[in-house]
Symmetry: C2
Subunit: 214 residues, 2 copies
């Protein structure tokens, strides 16, 4: 992949999904796949798939299709999944603990190195062998431990303050679960998981189906 | 809104976000807003905003802008948020409990009516006053209690079986947190929250920023 190559954010959103399906195919020892076959699996049109993968030189060969292993490796490299990321979680209620378990379970290059909370009942607990530290010590921790990603699992009202601390402490990315839109420092990446937005989309489709039945 | 009107899925994905910002503006007692002002808040271009809102007749008036209250109501109605939804959660580990707390906290029209698990240690627990029931009783529960949405917080390998039960039991929508792609019955809506996809997008942007600094 060329350095600094820009891929549209719509394609970037789709790449992890391609990667997941390619991983499943690898597990089934499939070597290659055509854009048509990939289309029937993933649900994007074959032409969309060819266009997406052409973006970074993932060219299928006529009559052969895509080589699954090399496409998987290429997509993983584009997504930066050939590297390791140190992470901290701020807010260790149910959601924070669920995220810690989730990333632990996946054993990928994403490693939770510390968790922080303000609640004295949670401070000192160990979750997947990671100690919950006092939120007051976050600045100090970040000064002494290079951290790539800060995960925000606090409530809405604390989230911006937490993000400011994380950005000042040098993280390069924020993974935000607080139901609010946050401002990050220039050069820091931000990815939101807005659960309510997702639930509201679901409500829309339920109602559209109801109306179609009328 | 006209019955059966189709709005593209890209617009549907953006509507909840418009709605969140309009809600914030209502709280600040703002009456109206231009597409340019909305653009600087939300981050979409003004022309994108006008195009999106024109889709369902949310026409701003030249020199006046959009009426915030009526636009908020219109978007809420399109999303089906003027109705109530009964929900069950299957899988009540940390993530299931986090989702139960989350929807409880929001006190919107989405109500968790029951939770299910296979783990004897969890069965019988009460979370936000909702009892965790035995997964074996899910079929029976769905027969006797009309349920709109099934929330899947199980692991990957159980998820499809759970979805089949939920679909057979008559739910109209599945909100899936299991890291896998699921097949639903015709006419059942499906919304996935694939956390790993989101984390992988974040990794991409971190790496792009790193390369830009080189």
């Amino acid at each position: 992949m060329k350095n600094n190559m820009k891929i549209s954010s719509a394609v970037i959103k789709r790449l992890p999904r391609y990667r997941r399906y390619l991983m499943e195919l690898q597990k089934k020892n499939v070597d290659r796949i055509s854009s048509n076959e990939l289309s029937s699996l993933i649900g994007y049109t074959a032409s969309q798939i060819r266009q997406d993968l052409n973006n970074f030189g993932g060219f299928g060969q006529q009559g052969y299709g895509y080589n699954i292993n090399s496409l998987y490796k290429e997509i993983s490299a584009i997504l930066g999944l050939d590297q390791e990321y140190g992470m901290v979680i701020v807010g260790t209620g149910n959601l924070g603990q669920a995220i810690a378990n989730y990333t632990h379970y996946y054993k990928s290059g994403f490693k939770v190195c510390a968790m922080f909370d303000v609640n004295p009942k949670l401070i000192g607990l160990r979750i997947n062998d990671i100690e919950v530290l006092d939120y007051e010590d976050l600045d100090e921790y970040l000064k002494n431990n290079q951290t790539d990603i800060g995960i925000v699992c606090t409530n809405m009202s604390s989230a911006q303050e937490v993000v400011d601390k994380l950005c000042n402490g040098g993280v390069e990315g924020i993974w935000n679960f607080a139901p609010t839109d946050l401002i990050v420092k220039d050069g820091v990446a931000l990815e939101d998981v807005h659960l309510s937005d997702s639930l509201h989309s679901l409500a829309y489709y339920i109602n559209r189906n109801r109306q179609n039945q009328d």
